[in-house]
Amino acid sequence: MLISCNKLKSHIKNPEDIDWLNIWDTFTLRTAEVEKVTVKGDTFDNVVVGEIKECIPHPNSDHMHILQVDYGDKEPIQVVCGANNVRVGLKTAYIKVGGHIDGMEIKARPLRGILSNGMCCSGRELGISDDHNGIIEAPDDWVVGTDIKDYLPVRDIIVEIDNKSLTNRPDLWGHYGIAREICAITNHELLPLDILEIENNKEDLNIVIKDDNLCYRYTGLKIDNIKNNKTPLEMQIFLFYVGMRSISLLVDLTNVLMMELGTPMHAFDARVVKNIEVGLANEGDIYTTLDGVERSLTSDMLMIKNGDQYFGIAGVMGGLDSEILPDTTSIFLESACFNAASIRRTATNLGLRTEASARYEKSLDPNMTDLAIKRLAYLLKEQNPDMVIASNLTDIYPRKLKEEQIILDKKTLSIYMGRTLEDEEVKNILEKLGFKVKIENNYYDVTVPTFRATKDIKIKEDLIEEIARIYGLENFIPKPLKLDLTVKEHETIFNQEYEVKRLLAEKYNMHEVHSYIWYDTDLLKELNIEKDNIKILGKETNNILRDDLSLSLMNIVRENFKNYANFKIFEIGTVINNNSNKRVLSIILTDKETNLENIYNEAKNIVKYIFKVLKNKEVTFTNNVNELPYYNDTLGKMINVDENKIGQINVLTKSCTNKLSKKKAIVTIDIDFDKYVTLPKEEILSKEISKYPEVELDYTIILEDKKYEDLKEVLKTFLSKLIRSYRLVEVYENKYMIRYTLGSDFKTLEQKDLQTFKDRFIKHIKDNGLKIIE
């Protein structure tokens, strides 16, 4: 929102005490964020009041004129002008030779063969309005030769305030509210507004509110005999500076009021107004708004109706037939207050956010409507002394918003502030902001003005906020929390996640990735995978929440295949399973197709390593009964810890893999991280070791049509007191090398002990139908 400091000054007593250029840094700290401060009026100089003394058509042009302009010098000067409103006697803005506009120097130069000494200017040329219909028409009483900056408020400081930081402050959507804040910040006095008091000795207007939950108040007034509909120059400049277009006095005045008090208003041509009714639209009706767009209405949209016809969308935009016309002399003024949420919904659903709706959706104070009308009438009368009030100030206000009281105890205030303030300081701050304060022994009895009560001031903490910010947040000093050595409840999820991530990145050179919680639905389609899970409403694609983290990582896998033939990635993320959140660790190993065996075995080792190193747990693998069609149904293992399933290893099917990249292998590991987190870490206990040395013996066994799984069963049944441990150390084609570690607690093993062991072992292998290399 743009704020004019000239306007603010008009609402404040002794405004010259305030440094208007630098107050805004403080305003940012006290009230709302200021985005930009612009100084206006420096873009031109040497522009004075000039009077056209002579006006003859230009011989070489169909629209230009040759003027003799009196600008206060001894003789009038010759100026060529192309504007169509030139005439003898007109006083206008004349820029002298040597003057500047936007850094450009004005020189005497011929225009179509006739010398022009300087130039007569339009409002747009001077950058003080967007009027370019002709040169400026100054009032007759302006003195020729005077700098126009002496007459017009051209010099101004325009401040842009971040709208978002005003979301919660309906009272700050107009200059008067901002002026009140400035008064509180600088300890100045806010001036009351000049208004026109209206005697209610005429007829009431016919106004009905059908739904007082959606329309809190509707105030109307009819004014006749408006002859002057021309906006004074200073009002044009103000509107231009704050970003509004000047149209006509009546329209401009409603905008001035909106910029002043934050209250949107409407002026209807009184000739078309029969009776006003505020009520809901009929579902499906079509209505054309002021901007000429046809809008489809729904039954929850609040409308202003005139007779039986729609007259405007309440709080959003009027219609075509209610517009002020050039010959309008009688108006019906509307000043109303609507339900904020209803206006916001209507504006959102219509895709039509207007200056009015933006203000209404902030929850405006209904007690402002009559003030706004009286203020507008006052300003209108200044331009139309003969205007006639033609009706009572008709005010439909079914449920009056009353001022509320809040008790603020001094103890709470001191705790929040970390200090105790003087009663008078508290009282002064709040009163400057419009509150009324009674000081009691232990508390303050505070009356909240209704312009603050509609939205942000409800409880004592809200008052503390007011006091703290005006007191000055920069006066607070960082203070450490008190020492507290209580042992707190502890949650280890974050740490455990970090531990695993770090291990995977450090030991296995893996890369951590982050992906989305929903499936890439295009990818699912491409891979021919159907998924049914919780969906996001109102979205057509990427709308299915993932239930398989590894699968959801496949588009990341595809992207990386473009640059790498093999890589390892992982994520710890959330999946939605059976309607609830689950944390999962997913690891994906990729390589050329021919290396599937390597990465498959690596996957098992990674899993074993994680559990051994971080949980001191042994992992077992069992065959996976895979129901998911996109994973290979013969390869794949369940991961078990303490006999409970905690995850699985899978191989993506060839058909899916080929869609991601040709001749590749993709192995996935998924570990239920919720279970992982709750898994206790096995205590490490030291083991007694024999004082006699141990011996290692290697045997190579040949498996034909059998798997290591079968060999394991055979090895399990071979028993000997000498066995300390045995393990698979190498696989070459169908040859499996097993290494036994033998030892005794009572003696050093001798050759004959080893020979006996060897003979027994070879016999055992052979008896079980396997071959062994002797």
Partner: protein, 335 residues
């Protein structure tokens, strides 16, 4: 005899000096000091000698044998130490490392600092009920934040959480007062993607509840947190803000690190960068967490971890963070 022995010794010396392989030396060893060597037979002939000769030559023979054995051992050791391994010591392979996600690194760093201030790290669900995401946080039904366009609503009546503040309620319910928690986590907003906007990003939430907690404690925690993160003497300032779950609410700005507070395009010439949403916990939120606001006060804060990671690592396109592109992410080595 003496002559004979010294000759044997000299012979051995000569042979050892020319031998350069371990096997040769072992052969020489068996030839000169082995069982069938001359000195061994001389030694064994000692028993047939006269007592006089035994006395005369016994120790000499033994000593000579010992000396010869030592010569062999010394030469063997010499050879072992001579055999240096040589290789191309200028070979230089490219370093291969894994990587952690930048957000993981920054989350770890921040939680680490907060843990030093006594905070417990907690986590909450990404799919959240409207109660925890809105109601309990004092966001009433008709609040703009609950509009369809900001929030991902789900067909089971839940939402993808829009901020990590749901952790405030979970933590109060789980631990009660007094309380000191922080909660990094992922949040979701229905936004179109561009270089600065993501629909999925990370925040961290912090909450402290105790008797007599003040705005000044909040200021301390934030100032020191940012100081530690950026390893610079950053300044912070509070401005009035508005959040439904805090009252009073504050925007916290950090002095711009690019220009040092003088004003530059990054900070829009203000010298300050908006970093943290914060405030004193709203009494309604305390009540929702089962804590009596007449007895306890608290503060809460939240800020974008993703944004912080981008600032710290100078990442200029937010989209790379969820791209999984290893070429980009591999730079973020372990921390």
């Amino acid at each position: 005899m003496e002559e004979k022995l010294s000759k044997l010794k000299e012979e051995l010396k000569e042979k050892l000096a020319t031998a350069t392989k371990e096997a040769d030396i072992l052969n020489i060893k068996s030839e000169y000091v082995g069982k069938k060597s001359e000195i061994s037979s001389i030694l064994s002939s000692l028993k047939d000698m006269s007592i006089e000769d035994k006395k005369k030559y016994g120790s000499l023979i033994n000593n000579t044998k010992k000396e010869m054995e030592d010569l062999v051992t010394a030469r063997l050791e010499e050879l072992e130490n001579e055999s240096e391994i040589t290789f191309d010591d200028t070979v230089d392979f490219e370093l291969v490392t894994g990587s952690l996600h930048p957000v993981t690194i920054i989350a770890h760093e921040i939680t680490d600092i907060l843990k030093r201030m006594g905070f417990t790290v907690v986590s909450g669900p990404e799919m959240e009920s409207e109660y925890y995401n809105f109601e309990a946080l004092n966001v009433p039904k008709d609040h703009p934040a609950r509009d369809m366009q900001d929030t991902y609503f789900l067909d089971n009546g839940m939402v993808l959480r829009t901020q990590t503040s749901d952790n405030q309620i979970h933590a109060m319910e789980n631990f009660g007062a007094p309380l000191r928690i922080c909660a990094p986590g992922r949040v979701f907003r229905n936004e179109d993607l561009d270089a600065n906007h993501e629909n999925t990003f990370y925040q961290i939430e912090g909450m402290v509840i105790d008797k007599g907690v003040t705005i000044e404690n909040l200021l301390y925690v934030m100032q020191n947190l940012l100081k530690e993160v950026f390893h610079e003497d950053v300044k912070v300032r509070l401005r009035p803000g508005f959040f439904p779950f805090t009252e009073p609410s504050y925007e916290m700005d950090m002095s711009c690190l690019i220009c040092g507070g003088k004003g530059c395009p990054t900070c829009k010439n203000s010298g300050w960068i908006e970093m943290v949403g914060s405030g004193m916990v709203h009494p309604n939120v305390l009540r929702a967490g089962g804590i009596n606001p007449e007895e306890y006060t608290g503060f809460a804060f939240g800020f974008g971890l993703t944004r912080l990671a981008m600032m710290k690592y100078k990442i200029n396109d937010i989209r790379v963070l969820n791209s999984g592109n290893i070429r980009y992410l591999k730079e973020f080595n372990l921390k």
